[in-house]
Amino acid sequence: MAERTHKTIESGAPDPMPYMHPVMRKNYGKWVFHSHPKPGVLYHRAESGDEIWTVKAGTQRQMDHYTIRKLADIADQYGDGYVRFTARSNIEFMVADQAKVEPLIKALQDNGFPVGGTANSVSMIAHTQGWLHCDIPGTDASGVVKALMDELYDEFVKCEMPNRVKLSTSCCEINCGGQADIAIIVQHTKPPKINHDLVANVCERPAVVARCPVAAIRPALVNGKPSLEVDERKCVCCGACYPPCPPMQINDPEHSKIAIWVGGKNSNARSRPTFHKLVAAGLPNNPPRWPEVAEVVKKILAVYKADGRPWERMSDWIDRIGWPAFFEKTGLPFTKYHIDNWRGARNSLNASTHIRF
């Protein structure tokens, strides 16, 4: 190998100014108005009177360089050469000339990029790495998202929901996809299967014991070898032991199921931010298109769309109608698993006679 001549520059996060649209740079911190002319398009006006239009499009997030170059070419030919990505992997093209908006939309659509994801639409699903690149995944990420966004395509390109809808998927219970109006998360249903031949060599046993949220793991001698054992009556099948100790295999093609959670919201608008709540579990991990998951997600979205009032996020809507009505309207079963028994659980019980009939 040739001798390395470059000396690392610990430069950190780059300055965005050289890559920012000149109108945005000029009016930095001086915006006074925005509107939403149509799905996928935002209009912003600055104090100076300067205007900028943004066209938002969905991407597959994991992009081959041909796709990225295609987006760059579209930015040059139909836009002003400036783009940015959102936290949900949508791409935004900014143009200073309104006349560029429609040709830009057409170019994106002609090349297979859906234009939408603004305001009260269902935005792109925040997702993780899954089978493509994660070392502990219970399912895939990009595939689940592709399959679901195919189903939710119309809701991305239209804006017909009561308020914005943010979805996430996570391929294990660590939930890297994050809180969302609807979150799709792997839920293991069996304790880890332990390969006792490997534990002593691979795992730092006290660290693994310490990871367990319910203290179900203890050191043990198994077949004369130092290993770990799990009290399966206490185990909550969370998989926390698996990353630090891969011989404690938690993933199972049959028993790693998928759960659906609703009502997470990070915005402070109206109510305080909320965590999503479990509404459905036991759905099969069924590649390549996870139809059972799509069915439940679509059912919840349809009820919310029909019943939610303007500007109510999923959590606002459920707050108004109450959880019994949520289960009634969606047809989802309410089970003993919905009642929390983790720390702080009593705070989620109904300590009142507030009951809707």
């Binding site: 690392t8 950190g12 509107s35 081959d64 994660c134 809180q179 990070n266």
Partner: protein, 433 residues
């Protein structure tokens, strides 16, 4: 080159449908890259067996202890030979994007070129959940060259492991009237002054900062970061009567009541007759028509953003802007998800000194975390274990009623220092007066 493609019936199913297909992209890359041929083989195996086949390891660049995510295949035959040898190593480089994720078309092409010309697969994710550009698929032998090339372009690796992590800020001041501070500057101040903790992981566990320009919190700082810096303001909501009238003309009284007034969480908005009466102290008043105006009681407004979101431009954040800082947000492991909670109700973030103060606070919190958290314990869990008051005393912040939803509901506390503590409160009140 041009290795025979594997049979991928499951993945092929993901090429149909209207949403852009990552599988089609992987196949395009496989036309000229054997690593991607075998990557497709491994991924198809996962789809068929419903099982993941990557394990971690140790791969890095000189001088750094983090930023590369190593992946080695676990799909091997009985003699230990990889079933998909070209993708037996499929490492990722996490690279910090420009704050706010702005790119020129040329920069996107240059990133693609740099990746391809140094042995990368051609696959890039914009972006990972922490906000990194993820350059996915490279062999260990090429990692240093790929990093050097990106580093020469002005890019640096991101965080991984028990370290300061790559950060995110919203579009903010670049294109949003809700922005209450310079998010990109704040991000670069805090992150770039603490890079040692990113590149050489030695914290108890990960630590994330996130920067949102207003309480809409578009980068989800309150749930996804150990220290959330969220823009807000102290003075009255600004109003623009013309835009308010335009809004009303395009809507109706029903909309005003149902979509604006009724959704105010603290009932701070009232519909009033437009009788020309002046707005009282702390009140924002704006006519929406010749007959009606709305009045907002700013002292009772919690800056939730709802009415500003519904009537953009008609209602705007005040001029006395700054940030609220919350600490302790995190995901599930180990104690369950925790939300960030207030440790600084308001601080200005405008002058050089203000930014320095933010940086000092960030460093102070990082140091306290480094010294006091247990191994694999996040900041939120540490605060749960030691109590907020111990944390505040540790970093030298005073208690404030904005830090709680309500005072304690149990008597299990020693209060023999009551008089001294009460005097501190009065002392602070006098100092502030």
């Amino acid at each position: 080159m041009a290795k025979q493609m594997h049979h991928t019936p499951n993945l092929d199913e993901l090429e149909s449908g209207p949403w852009p297909s990552f599988v089609t992209g992987l196949k395009r890359l496989a036309q000229e890259n054997d690593m991607m041929v075998d990557l497709l083989g491994q991924l198809e195996t996962s789809y068929k067996n419903r099982f993941g086949y990557w394990k971690g390891g140790t791969v890095g660049v000189i001088g750094y202890g983090a930023g590369v995510i190593p992946r080695f295949t676990e799909l091997k035959d009985e003699s230990g030979k990889p079933l998909f040898p070209e993708a037996a190593e499929f490492h990722t480089l996490r690279v910090q994007p420009p704050a706010g994720m702005h790119y020129t078309s040329d920069l996107l092409r240059q990133l693609c070129d740099a990746w391809l010309e140094t042995g990368g697969s051609g696959l890039i994710a914009f972006h990972g959940q922490s906000g990194d550009i993820m350059f996915q698929g490279i062999k260990a032998e090429n990692v240093q060259a790929a990093f050097d090339r990106l580093n020469q372009m002005g890019f640096d690796l991101g965080g991984a492991g028990p370290a300061l992590r790559t950060s995110m800020s919203c579009v903010g001041a670049a294109r949003c009237e809700m922005s209450c501070y310079d998010e990109a500057r704040a991000l670069r101040t805090v992150i770039n002054n603490n890079l040692d903790d990113m590149h050489r992981p030695s914290l108890p566990y990960k630590f994330k900062f996130k920067f949102s320009g207003c309480p809409n919190d578009c980068v989800n700082s309150i749930q996804r970061s150990d220290m959330a810096i969220i823009g807000t303001w102290r003075d009255n909501i600004r109003v623009n009567e013309q835009i308010a009238r335009d809004w009303m003309a395009a809507h109706s009284m029903e909309d005003l009541i149902n979509m604006v007034v009724n959704h105010c969480p603290t009932k701070a908005i009232q519909l009033k007759k437009n009788d020309g009466a002046p707005a009282g102290e702390g009140v924002s008043r704006v006519a929406v028509s010749d007959e009606h105006c709305i009045e907002i009681d700013n002292h009772n407004c919690v800056r939730c953003m709802h009415c500003l979101n519904v009537m953009p431009g008609a209602l705007l954040p005040g001029k006395d802007k700054g940030v609220t800082i919350l600490v302790g947000g995190k995901g599930v492991l180990k104690i369950g998800a925790t939300m960030g909670t207030v440790i600084v109700p308001f601080m200005k973030l405008e002058s050089d000194e203000d930014f320095e103060k933010l940086n000092d606070l960030a460093r102070n919190v990082l140091d306290f975390f480094a010294e006091n958290a247990l191994e694999h314990e996040r900041t939120g869990e540490m605060i749960e274990r030691i109590g907020l008051v111990n944390f505040l005393e540790g970093i030298g912040l005073e208690v404030d009623p904005n830090m709680v939803i309500h005072p304690r509901t149990n008597p299990y506390v020693r209060t023999d220092g009551w008089d001294e503590e009460a005097e501190k409160w009065f002392e602070r009140k006098r100092a502030a007066a």
